[in-house]
Symmetry: C2
Subunit: 162 residues, 2 copies
């Protein structure tokens, strides 16, 4: 395991990958135009840059699970950022003023590197298990964990009171 590389960063001292509470199954893979060193920072950047779309291929046993999804629909794509380190608990991103806790950041570096991406379906082939999505910031080859419908009535938190 590498050491924290920027001032103020803090590591756990263990790798969360070795503290298993449960096991995840990879249900497919994401194909994108991005590789380490050249990916957009987030979905907004991906959309602004153009060429940021992606293609999800779901493994055969899971393809029946796509029944009912439609082109144009907004979904959550859950990904496993398998190339991110998992032990940094305080990080000093270049854009921030000083170090911040991992849970206050959208960084891919986190104890469980699960990414949630709010995207739209641009194409759909149920038989082949292929889903085109309008944007992604994830590297080509990233494992897929789940797809869920995006629901405005639930996925937007209520306005703060007061």
């Amino acid at each position: 395991m590498t050491k924290p590389s920027r001032d103020g960063e803090g590591a756990l001292g263990f790798d969360p990958a070795e503290r298993s509470g449960g096991s995840i199954a990879f249900i497919g893979v994401l194909h994108s135009n991005w590789a380490p060193g050249g990916a957009p920072k987030n979905l907004r950047q991906s959309r602004e840059a153009g060429g940021g779309g992606g293609r999800v291929v779901i493994d055969a046993p899971y393809r029946d699970g796509l029944r009912g999804l439609e082109i144009g629909q907004a979904i959550w794509l859950l990904l496993w950022f398998d190339r991110a380190r998992r032990d940094l608990i305080v990080q000093a991103p270049r854009h921030a003023h000083g170090p911040r806790g991992t849970f206050a950041l959208s960084s891919p570096v986190r104890p469980n590197p699960i990414a949630i991406e709010a995207v739209r379906i641009t194409s759909l082939d149920h038989g082949a298990g292929e889903i085109g999505i309008d944007a992604t910031d994830a590297f080509d080859g990233t494992p897929v964990l789940d797809i869920k419908p995006w629901l405005g009535g639930i996925d937007i938190p209520p306005e703060p009171e007061g």
Copy 2:
């Protein structure tokens, strides 16, 4: 493993828990007022019912990760629905017209039972690792996987074109 219990449902024929692609670490636990048989169906129901708030307790090694979070802030709480079966790929929920694929549903039953909950922080004790949240639909004792900031510019998909 139990068999599908409603007409039209379909099972994988294996338990995704046994097809491990990666291991997840539990970073804390959720305390709520809900138990099997008596939980709201989603966050909206939880908020309408009242008494739906919860309390997250983050394990000691991960508490530095909370630095920078604030009361009132909107966050994603990622949970592991450890009491849900994982092998149903086509489901026939009572509210739907006919069976639908798991990925077209928000059901807790899915190959990787990861829940994402858009909530607001109502209280915060960094030292004790305690975070109050305004609503949850999860059972008391549900394992916590992650906390991320909720960001309107990223977590709301763009309007469909045309």
